[in-house]
Symmetry: C2
Subunit: 423 residues, 2 copies
């Protein structure tokens, strides 16, 4: 295909008219399609259905220490579940705290506690830190940004690169003692699908932070979410940090929301024993404990952590198909010089960068034809993409045929918006 920039004005005008004609035909179809939601489709959820039918008779409600998990107790989770997650994620079991059905809630609660009480090493509660700031890697996850925005942090944007955040920029920013932390989705990052390089992980562990209570919010949501045999490898941030004496700066999170059920999974937080010793008495004021029966349900279903790998292979097959449909459609844009996109080895998203200044127009064109995209700017702090260029594509929820049609129209819209811009 020919680069649009090499076309004459006349040729571009002609092409635009032709594409708009095609577009009108789709508009007449009265479609209602959705590429915005980073959530599994019902068929994908069916893969985990058997978990809801595991034996939960009386005997099965006691853990391997003989504890009756139907009752109160075990604030930090069932020991067997801690060992399970430790093996699956390559963490030390004494670092693990098991939460409820939402790792987002664990993250929010961790920062809410920091606001009200501070973290280990805090000179004061964060709500008393005037002018507090937080680093947001963008494009990134809007729900992360929303938490620190709600808590009154000034959000500092650092560009996401194929190897993770622009570390030169991060290292500069953390020299400011008002900068209290950074949001990271280190593997199959939302939305680019890129994984932090070993070098990036090492620099995050090594960097000198002026704030004595700086924290890395390490949301490893897609830790086991490869979609092919050559999945990405993420360095062990705790091991790296141990070498530099900075382990306390890491708050690690994950969950089974996208392993079993988004509504009914199990979340975890991992942090050094020193951090946990500061946090647990405060968590003990908030709750007597999380749902241990759902922890057992997961343990009974996944006889061992390796069973998760097998389960995720089936899940990966499902998602790879969605990614393939999307990437096949996007290949129509190859060589046109108007768009770039990622080809992740896992995760839930594909990130599409269109001609700067046209993302909003693409969104509008899609909306008018009945296809919902993630809001432009949602992947940036304060909901503003300075280049008006990034679009997050969430291909998992639609059916195959809906997805193929929506992507075909998306390609058309990207072309139209570019040609309009180049007029």
């Amino acid at each position: 295909m020919k680069d649009y920039r090499s076309l004459s004005a006349k040729e571009r005008e002609h092409l635009l008219a032709q594409l708009l004609g095609e577009y009108e035909k789709y508009k007449a179809m009265g479609l209602s399609l959705d590429l915005s939601r980073g959530k599994p489709n019902a068929e994908q959820l069916d893969i985990s259905q058997a978990m809801l039918a595991v034996d939960m008779s009386r005997e099965a409600c006691f853990d391997d220490t003989g504890f009756d998990c139907r009752n109160y107790g075990m604030l930090d989770g069932v020991p067997e579940m801690k060992r399970f997650f430790a093996y699956l994620y390559g963490l030390k079991k004494e670092y693990i705290f098991i939460g409820g059905n939402s790792s987002l809630q664990l993250m929010y609660d961790t920062l809410a506690r920091a606001m009200l009480f501070g973290v280990l090493g805090s000179p004061r509660p964060w709500c008393r830190e005037e002018g507090r700031k937080w680093i947001c890697v963008a494009p990134g996850y809007d729900r992360h940004f929303a938490i620190t925005e709600a808590f009154g942090f000034e959000l500092l944007t650092v560009r996401m690169t194929p190897t993770g955040p622009d570390m030169d920029e991060v290292e500069k920013l953390v020299a400011d003692p008002k900068v209290k932390g950074i949001w990271c989705v280190p593997k199959y990052s939302n939305p680019t699908g890129n994984t932090y390089s070993d070098e990036t992980v090492r620099r995050l562990a090594k960097m000198k932070c002026a704030a004595p209570d700086f924290r890395i919010m390490w949301d490893n949501a897609y830790a086991v979410h490869d979609i092919n045999d050559h999945g990405d490898t993420l360095a062990d941030i705790f091991a790296e940090a141990r070498a530099f004496g900075t382990e306390d700066r890491i708050f690690y999170f994950s969950s089974t929301s996208k392993i079993t059920f988004p509504g009914g999974g199990v979340s975890l937080l991992a942090a050094t024993p020193a951090n946990l010793a500061q946090m647990k008495p405060l968590i003990g004021v908030q709750t007597i404990g999380y749902d241990k029966l759902n922890q057992l349900r997961h343990l009974r279903y996944f006889a061992n952590p390796d069973a998760v790998r097998e389960h995720m292979t089936r899940m990966g097959d499902y998602i790879r198909n969605k990614f393939s449909i999307t990437l096949a459609a996007l290949s129509e844009l190859d060589g046109l010089g108007i768009a770039e996109w990622t080809k992740p080895n896992g995760g839930y998203f594909i990130s599409l960068d269109v001609l700067p200044g046209t993302a909003k127009r693409v969104f509008e064109l899609m909306r008018e034809v009945g296809v919902t995209l993630t809001g432009v700017g949602a992947t940036f702090p304060y909901g503003v993409d300075p280049d008006d260029s990034n679009l997050r594509i969430a291909p998992t929820y639609p059916t195959d045929s809906d997805l193929a049609l929506a992507c075909k129209i998306l390609v058309l819209a990207v072309k139209i918006a570019a040609l309009e811009k180049m007029k």
Copy 2:
């Protein structure tokens, strides 16, 4: 039995020596019994076991609106669950927000949000209210007191009476704008087992509060926990408050922790639509939603809210037996003039007031013989009982024979401590 105060010093000395002899025999038995834990016993939990075996096949995971409850969404809960709780608790369904497995967590989170953002009508976030104060009805629930203590409130103690808090005192205190709220367990109060009278509920609804954002934390944990046919009746605080235009001051909480499983129940918050409109966007920053599958599990098990009543009759039979064993033992103290105790129609606790200045001694005597009681003072703000008189008895957890033995020794300890004091 003869009032100890009518005995001569000689008679008392003789009696004490005899009781100490008995006590030594128990001491030699090397017992290990526990009357401290307000939690169900395993047999009692067996009553709900079938809930963990309800059909949760694919079809059963869709609610009656066709929503796939395995997936993300429905921040405020499954509509069917809201209607269920509305009927069960006599609440309007549009007042209901469904939470996770812990109503304590809903309460903590509600106050944490108030600290960081304020509530409807707050001039500023509560963390910026210097000298903030909170009313604690005592004896009361230590976990309530711990939350407001952690959040930096000065705790103001108001005496619990057989008809609820001393309302003259409450009405005086709320004239101070720094007093932001009150903790209430209105039915089968922890630990006295008393229920607020209609007059008390009305006065709470009617009272003039100087703080524009005063809140009543109405923890109706034992709403359906009668142990006999003549269970207590609690007035509808929302209806009372509606008459006085004060409905927004009520945050109502409950859960199925002591209906089904303490570790795996469903909690709820009820508040006016105006309050919910202020809270929901903030809760939406904290989580995408709570565990809807566990909501469905409850709905499938209890075909209708009346089934809960039947279920609670079986539960009540179980608990009544534990209460009977305890009260039979305590009747040994009748007429001695050294103790008073409650005879609740429901709930989980019996409150025992021993001779002022002897509660700690009773605790020590019990500890030395191997019986754990709830810590003396735990039922008071800051853990201090000014009269050193109140003991909370939690009879549900031990087996019948352990309970009978523990209560027999308790009676002995109460007598010994009183006689020592009267020397």
